[in-house]
C-alpha cells in the first residue's frame, strides 16, 4: 500500500503541504466545513435548506393532494380534519399539499434571483472597480440610482410594467437586488486591483477580460456568496410582499406569499390559512439567514474569532 493512501483522506485534506492545486482547494473547503460544522445553528439552516430542496424535488410524490384541487364544500377546515393534516384554504384546497408544492416556487424564486442578480452585480462591480475612470463613475451612478429606490417600489414598478406573475416578480426582484452586490464586488476589486499577483498576470500578458474573469471575479465570489445567502430571506419576503399586493405569483399557483396574502382575509377566525404559509416563509428565510451567518464565519475572515 502506498504511503499517501495510508495517510487517509482526512489527513491529506488537512495536510499543510498539499500535493496539488486541487488538493489545496479541497483541503481549504474541508477546513471550512469543519469550522462550519461547529456552528450548530448554521447546520440547522443547512438542513432546512436541503430539506426544502428535497421536498421541492419530490413534491408530486409526497403531497397527499393536488395543490389546485378545489372543494368548496370543504373550505376552511382546521388542521387535522380528515385527510387534511394542515387544514384547507378558502377553496377547500389542502394546505399541506400547497405548502409542499410552494417549496418549488420558493426554490425557483431564490435560485433564479441568485442566478440573475449575483452575476449582474459581479460584472458591474468588478468592471467598475477594475477599469475605473469614467466607466466606474457611470456604473456607480447607475448603481446609486437603483440603490436609492426602495426595492419593493422598484419591483412594483417592474411588475406593473411587465404584468403580474411569478417570472416577472423574479425579474423585478433580481433587478432591484443587484446594486449592493455591485458595491461589494467593486470594493473587493479595488483592494485586489493593485495586488502583486494581478500585476504579475498583467505582465504575463493576460488581457483585461481574462484578468477580470479568471483572477478578480473568483476572489469576489466568496463574500458575494455570503451576502446572497443572507439576502435570500429578504428575497423570499419581497416575493411574499409582492404576492400580498397581488403582484407576485398569481392564483391558483401555490406560492407561500400569495397564500398568506389571500389567507389574511380569514386570519381572525381561520388563523391557519395565513399562518401556516407564513410559518413556512419564516422557517425557510430563517434557514437561509442561519446558513448565511455560518458561511460568513467561514468565508469572511474579518468575522473570525
Amino acid at each position: 500500500m502506498s504511503d499517501h493512501a495510508k495517510q487517509g483522506w482526512r489527513a491529506r485534506l488537512l495536510s499543510e503541504t498539499p500535493r496539488s492545486r486541487r488538493e489545496a482547494k479541497l483541503g481549504q473547503a474541508y477546513r471550512g466545513w469543519l469550522q462550519f460544522r461547529q456552528n450548530r445553528l448554521a447546520l440547522l439552516g443547512l438542513a432546512i435548506v436541503v430539506a426544502l430542496i428535497v421536498i421541492a424535488v419530490l413534491a408530486p410524490w409526497i403531497a397527499p393532494h393536488h395543490p389546485h384541487e378545489e372543494n368548496l364544500a370543504q373550505r376552511l377546515l382546521p388542521p387535522g380534519t380528515g385527510a387534511h393534516l394542515l387544514g384547507t384554504d378558502e377553496f377547500g384546497r389542502d394546505i399541506l399539499s400547497r405548502i409542499i408544492y410552494g417549496a418549488r416556487v420558493t426554490l425557483y424564486i431564490v435560485v433564479l434571483v441568485a442566478l440573475i442578480a449575483a452575476p449582474i452585480g459581479l460584472i458591474v462591480g468588478t468592471a467598475a472597480g477594475y477599469l475605473g475612470g469614467w466607466l466606474d463613475a457611470a456604473l456607480m451612478r447607475v448603481t446609486d440610482v437603483f440603490l436609492s429606490f426602495p426595492s419593493l417600489i422598484l419591483a412594483l414598478a417592474f411588475v406593473a410594467a411587465l404584468g403580474p406573475g411569478i417570472e416577472n416578480a423574479v425579474i423585478a426582484i433580481a433587478l432591484t437586488s443587484w446594486p449592493p452586490y455591485a458595491r461589494i464586488a467593486r470594493a473587493e476589486t479595488m483592494t485586489i486591483r493593485n495586488s502583486d499577483f494581478i500585476a504579475v498576470a498583467r505582465i504575463q500578458g493576460a488581457g483585461t477580460g481574462r484578468i477580470l474573469f479568471r483572477h478578480v471575479m473568483p476572489l469576489c465570489v466568496s463574500s458575494l456568496t455570503v451576502r446572497v445567502t443572507l439576502d435570500m430571506a429578504g428575497i423570499i419576503l419581497t416575493a411574499a410582499g409582492l404576492g400580498f399586493l397581488g403582484l407576485g405569483a398569481q392564483p391558483p399557483m401555490a406560492e407561500w406569499g400569495a397564500m398568506v396574502s389571500s389567507g389574511r382575509r380569514y386570519i381572525l377566525d381561520q388563523w391557519w390559512v395565513a399562518t401556516i404559509p407564513g410559518l413556512a416563509i419564516f422557517i425557510v428565510s430563517l434557514a437561509f439567514n442561519l446558513l448565511g451567518d455560518g458561511l460568513r464565519d467561514v468565508l469572511d475572515p474579518r468575522q473570525k474569532k
Binding site: D144, S148, F158, A160, A233, G241, L245
Partner: protein, 358 residues
C-alpha cells in the same frame, strides 16, 4: 507652456488662502450637487420610462370602465399622453425644475400637496421605528458580541433572525389582533382616532409634534397610542438589522489591539464595551442606522396597508398601480431626496464621530 497667463497668476496670487480653500470646498460641493442632480435625474428617467411602458392605461384610471371613445380621447390629450415619450419627459422635467409636480390623477390634487400630507405620516412612523430599532438593537448587538456564541448571543441572533424572517404584514395583523383587538393596549389603525382629527392646527404635519406645539396632550397621547404598534412592528425589522450589524462591528472592535491596551490598563469590561469599543462602533453604525432610517422613510407599503396609515409608501404604491405618473414621479423624487439627505446627514455625523475623518 512656459508663460502663465498673467490674469491667472493675479487672480490666484492676491487671493487669501481661506478663499482658495472656500473655492475648493465650493467646487467639491458643486460637484456633489451635480452628482445629486444626476442621480435624481436618473431616478426620474427610470421611473418615467417604466411608468410609460406600464400596460396600465392612465386614461382608463381616470375615465373608468364605461367611458365612450370621445371622453377617452379628450382626457388622453388633456394628460399630454398623445405626445412622443421623450417630449413628455422633457415637459415633465421642465415643469418640475420650476417646482411644479403636476396634478395627481387619483386624488385630483397637486402632487406636492399630497406629499406634504403623506410624508409626515411616514416620517412619524419611520422615526419611531428607528428609535425603537436603535434603543433595542444596539444593546442587543452588544450583548451578542460580548457573550459571543453563548446563550445571550444565540438568543439575540434568533430574535434578530425572526425579525428578518417574518413577513411583516403577517406580524402587523397579528399585532393588531393581540394588542388592539384583544388586549386593547394600543389604539387602532390610522394616525388618530377620528374625533381627534383636525383638533390641532397643522404645523409640521407630524401629529405628535403639532399636538405638543398646541399643548393638546389628549391628542398627543392618542396619536402616540396609534403610532406605537406599527412602529414597533417596523422597528422589529430594524432591530434585527441594527442588532446584527452592531454585533459584527462590536466583534471587530473587540478584537482590536486598543481593547487589549485598555484591559491592560485595568479598565473595567463595562467601560471597555460602552466607552472604548462603542465609540468606535458608533462610527460605522451611524451609516447603518441612517440607511435603515432612509429605507423606512421611503415608506413601508405593507405596514401602512395593514395599519391604514396614510403614508408615502401606500401613496406611491396606489399611484403606481393606477399609472398615476405625476404622483409616482413626485413621490420618487422625494424618496431620492430623502436618500441623498440622509446620506449627507450620516456623512456629517460620521465626521463628527470619527476624528480621523476630519
Amino acid at each position: 507652456m512656459l508663460q502663465a497667463r498673467p490674469g491667472f497668476r493675479q487672480f490666484f496670487g492676491v487671493r487669501p488662502r481661506d478663499k482658495v480653500k472656500a473655492s475648493i470646498a465650493l467646487r467639491q460641493s458643486s460637484g456633489f450637487l451635480f452628482q445629486v442632480a444626476l442621480t435624481l435625474l436618473g431616478l426620474l428617467a427610470v421611473t418615467f420610462f417604466i411608468g410609460r411602458v406600464v400596460p396600465i392605461d392612465p386614461v382608463l384610471a381616470v375615465v373608468g370602465d364605461q367611458a365612450p371613445r370621445d371622453v377617452y380621447e379628450a382626457v388622453k390629450r388633456e394628460l399630454g399622453l398623445d405626445q412622443p415619450l421623450w417630449w413628455q419627459f422633457w415637459v415633465y422635467v421642465k415643469k418640475m425644475a420650476a417646482g411644479d409636480f403636476g396634478q395627481s390623477l387619483l386624488t385630483n390634487r397637486p402632487v406636492i400637496e399630497d406629499i406634504k400630507r403623506v410624508f409626515p405620516a411616514t416620517l412619524e412612523l419611520a422615526t419611531f421605528a428607528t428609535i425603537i430599532g436603535v434603543a433595542l438593537g444596539v444593546p442587543m448587538g452588544i450583548a451578542g458580541a460580548v457573550w459571543q456564541d453563548r446563550w445571550p448571543d444565540q438568543l439575540v441572533r434568533v430574535v434578530g433572525l425572526v425579525g428578518y424572517s417574518v413577513p411583516i404584514f403577517w406580524l402587523g395583523i397579528i399585532g393588531l389582533l393581540v394588542f388592539y383587538g384583544i388586549l386593547g393596549w394600543v389604539q387602532g389603525p390610522g394616525r388618530l382616532s377620528v374625533f381627534f382629527e383636525d383638533m390641532v392646527p397643522v404645523v409640521t404635519g407630524v401629529i405628535l409634534i403639532d399636538a405638543a406645539i398646541a399643548r393638546e396632550w389628549e391628542v398627543f397621547w392618542n396619536a402616540f397610542g396609534h403610532v406605537v404598534l406599527p412602529s414597533a412592528v417596523l422597528g422589529y425589522f430594524s432591530i434585527a438589522y441594527i442588532a446584527r450589524m452592531t454585533r459584527s462591528f462590536m466583534l471587530e472592535q473587540l478584537n482590536q489591539e486598543y481593547i487589549i491596551t485598555a484591559r491592560a490598563k485595568g479598565v473595567s469590561e463595562a467601560r471597555i464595551i460602552w466607552v472604548h469599543a462603542l465609540r468606535n462602533v458608533s462610527v460605522p453604525l451611524v451609516t447603518v442606522i441612517a440607511l435603515s432610517y432612509a429605507r423606512l422613510l421611503e415608506g413601508a407599503v405593507l405596514t401602512e396597508t395593514v395599519f391604514a396609515w396614510p403614508g408615502l409608501g401606500r401613496y406611491l404604491t396606489t399611484a403606481l398601480l393606477a399609472a398615476d405618473m405625476n404622483a409616482v414621479l413626485g413621490a420618487t423624487i422625494v424618496v431620492g431626496l430623502v436618500f441623498v439627505g440622509i446620506n449627507l446627514l450620516s456623512d456629517l455625523l460620521y465626521r463628527l464621530l470619527d476624528p480621523r475623518a476630519k
